[in-house]
């Protein structure tokens, strides 16, 4: 029988106490910088001279909010699919070439991180506008006679957003592909499978965790994008983050802005919950 004063239990309790003391500064930072602001945000959305659900009623019934949420999810989905189609071949190539080449490829993938999102958005503006590099080049080649509307619309927003988020797709994919043993592909080939069959039956299923992690990262990050759609959407592509900004800056309606923020936060949590049914969140967040 183990007594209440068992030395091993006492030691365990002391260890737990020490661990709690060590982790408490980090918990305090999380409480001050994340939990309290989010709690304040949620409180703002339901309290204005008394308890009210008016802000949520507006978010769920008014047309502008519905359209903005629908557009945000459409753009996020389009960006995720395009980033996957562009990112997978790059990650695959980086995984299959010798070390020196893969370092070069990955350096080029992370190169855009060296400049700020704002500068990159202006660079895309310089590239895509009516008198921009791409329109001038196409006119020089006589492919077009009138400049194409490549910017201040959804197209420009998607092009620039994919550019900014593509590294978030390539890096988890590459990390997952690195863990796939090369012997498996050789084994498939030795059993008579063609390279494409080996890829689709062996490599692709094994790279699914990275694929899902990349897609989740890109989709969730895109939901909250602000600068890029603001600059390249030209006011026509109103994403949810822009609604938040307009509610605060133009109409001084913190309650409505908070309600939009809470709904977006709950949407992201729902996505993470859905993804966690298929894959450990540690993998999505890059822990394993």
């Amino acid at each position: 029988m183990i007594s209440a004063h068992d030395p091993s239990q006492k030691h365990q309790r002391r260890e737990h106490g020490l661990m709690l003391a060590l982790v408490s500064p980090a918990l305090l930072v999380i409480l001050l910088l994340i939990v309290l602001p989010v709690g304040w945000l949620a409180w703002q959305s339901i309290y204005h001279d008394g308890f009210t659900l008016e802000n949520y009623r507006r978010v769920f019934t008014e047309d502008i909010y519905w359209r903005s949420f629908a557009l945000t999810f459409e753009i996020s989905l389009a960006v995720t699919v395009i980033a996957l189609l562009l990112g997978y071949p790059v990650a695959y190539l980086a995984n299959s070439v010798p070390k020196g080449w893969s370092i070069l490829i990955l350096s080029l993938v992370v190169l855009p991180f060296w400049t700020s999102v704002l500068v990159r958005a202006y660079a895309w503006l310089a590239l895509l506008q009516r008198t921009g590099v791409i329109n001038q080049f196409l006119r020089y080649l006589e492919v077009i006679s009138e400049p194409l509307a490549l910017v201040h619309n959804t197209f420009g927003t998607v092009v620039a957003t994919v550019h900014i988020l593509l590294p978030f797709m390539v890096l988890p994919l590459y990390a997952t592909m690195q863990k796939i043993p090369g012997d498996l592909m050789q084994a498939g080939a030795s059993l008579g499978a063609s390279p494409s069959l080996t890829f689709f039956r062996v490599f692709l299923p094994l790279s699914l965790p990275g694929l899902l992690a990349g897609c989740t990262m890109v989709f969730v990050l895109c939901l909250g994008f602000y600068i890029t759609p603001e600059l390249l959407g030209g006011g026509r592509t109103v994403m949810v983050s822009m609604l938040v900004s307009r509610n605060v800056e133009l109409y001084n309606q913190f309650g409505a802005a908070s309600a939009v923020g809470v709904v977006l936060l709950l949407s992201v949590l729902a996505i993470f919950f859905a993804v966690s049914r298929f894959i450990s969140l540690d993998r999505v967040l890059g822990q394993k």
């Binding site: 562009l86 990112g87 071949p89 790059v90 695959y92 190539l93 490829i105 080029l108 993938v109 190169l111 855009p112 060296w114 400049t115 500068v119 990159r120 660079a123 895309w124 310089a126 590239l127 590099v133 550019h163 593509l166 590294p167 390279p195 494409s196």
Partner: protein, 40 residues
């Protein structure tokens, strides 16, 4: 001499285009940064 398959060549071409797409804004910014500012 080994010959690359069409699929492998397509992989190289697509990856090269994606990498150009990734570094294109940086390539545009770099020369613009050397243009002198207009005197007011």
């Amino acid at each position: 001499m080994t010959r690359s398959s069409p699929a492998r060549i397509a992989l190289y071409v697509v990856s090269a285009l994606v990498l150009v797409y990734l570094i294109l804004p940086v390539l545009i910014i770099a020369p613009i940064s050397f243009i002198p500012a207009r005197a007011s």
